[in-house]
Subunit: 327 residues, 2 copies
Amino acid sequence: MRQAGRSLPGYREVRKRASLFEICRSPQLAAEVTLEPVELLGVDAAILFSDIVLPLAAIGVGVEIVPGVGPVIDSPIRDARDLERLRPFEPAQDAPYLADAVRLLVSQLDVPLIGFAGGPFTLASYLIEGGPSKTHARTRALMYGEPLLWRRLLDRLADIALASLRAQALAGASALQLFESWAGVLDPGSYRTFVLPAARRIFDGLADLGVPRVHFGVGTGELLESMAVAGADVVGVDWRVPMDAARARLGRGVAVQGNLDPAACLAPWDVVRERVLAVLAQAGPTGHVFNLGHGVLPETNPDTLRRIVELVHGHRGGERAEPPVRS
Amino acid sequence: MRQAGRSLPGYREVRKRASLFEICRSPQLAAEVTLEPVELLGVDAAILFSDIVLPLAAIGVGVEIVPGVGPVIDSPIRDARDLERLRPFEPAQDAPYLADAVRLLVSQLDVPLIGFAGGPFTLASYLIEGGPSKTHARTRALMYGEPLLWRRLLDRLADIALASLRAQALAGASALQLFESWAGVLDPGSYRTFVLPAARRIFDGLADLGVPRVHFGVGTGELLESMAVAGADVVGVDWRVPMDAARARLGRGVAVQGNLDPAACLAPWDVVRERVLAVLAQAGPTGHVFNLGHGVLPETNPDTLRRIVELVHGHRGGERAEPPVRS
């Protein structure tokens, strides 16, 4: 339940005195807001508080997180010359606070810590559009129209994500998630041609670490077959795709994560309960990381999240205690 | 290629002296901007220039089109009392300019005119969110949490759409399209429970008119099977779903419309050409209305659109002239 922290009171207090990047760059503050949802909600893992554009800022790309908007890029990428601004990311020199935050958290947590990075398509879309976009049209236009520039851009971004993820794992993160948030704007053929090679480069580059690798994007129903071959151990599924359909598309050997509709958390508890149980039933008893199908909405009542965790634990506990009897 | 007009010089000239609603309410201006793409691009049909929220404004809902934002609702719908504001739409009294514009256009056009209305989910989302939304979370929360209120809301909106579409057909429109633009934020189970009955109500209510009925939404890959049973003769497919996959999900007896990625139109011509031909090949030679997979992007060069129309005509002409030889 990433971003759960953003709906919690402690986080909102910290944000009064520190910007998002300031929190990310302070191991103490990052640890504080990472721990809050674990303690308050009782979830089975923590996810490092950070931002997918942080490595870009760390190598000198002019980027700011504008409240209510998202990441805004000073000078968007337009041609091959602009690629030079994307030098390799060396976490130990460029962002030592990243591994420091991971180490601090691992020393304090009783549950696994998940590290993460932004996927190359998603980072490319911010760099090309100059910020969040409703259509991502400029991104796809560059991708279609300048495939060689696109390939070089995605390779650089894949290497940046890979360096960040490796650094987090080597500092003690127990699992790694790639947020390829906006890849769902692509048709499957374009995904395979223009994004899959970069995704494989990342997941192959993590294989020796022996930590579970999670791959997630929004609206990726058409892409699941292709994402399955990118090499992740777990694929996050958004709420649009029923879990049984997702499993069928992903094939054997890939676990699923998800996929309660975050908007369902705003409904009365009996509705939430019914929908949680439906997700559990559709996903089946094994190879499933229960989660929302996208980030927690800021207006979510933390108590609802706590009850969801309790419900899932009770259900899974029941399944563990006695073998399920299924018709 | 709906909204093609919005990228054309004549439309931009008209917009300097009239607001969007003013154009919609003036049969002369609406006809002028409807004709422009037909004359300039050579497309095979015209689509009436109007807006999906126009019938809401016509029955007294406070709604404004804010440039760069979209429709903004004065007082969003929150409870059952708010439903009273949605009285039945009587086109002849509430919006006589609608049928007038259709009649004027039919007398001037050599090609069929397509009428349209907004789908009930899409209109509900504007009414509930108060305007365009990135997440449509409040809409889904009300849908999940207050299913009876939701059902009454969608029935009213379905009747409004139905009245608008019937009026356009009776005035001479040769085809009718329902823009259920945002239904793609739903999982298929929720679509079937919460939206499909209203969609059927509309398409069943048009059946006696004998005009082709088109149903379109963005990101509806998961919903195509369900949309197929809503009763439309043609289903519009966005660019994410390959046309052959869309056909397989829709089954026999439903034609497809689409689905060139609008962003592809920003690429160099040889790339556009290749992607147009790929759409034609995937869709097959019959039961296909070639179109973009979503609205024309404002930055599109009209000359590219003209060349696309020419390419499709040449290709289709070739197919008609000699039976295709396929391996």
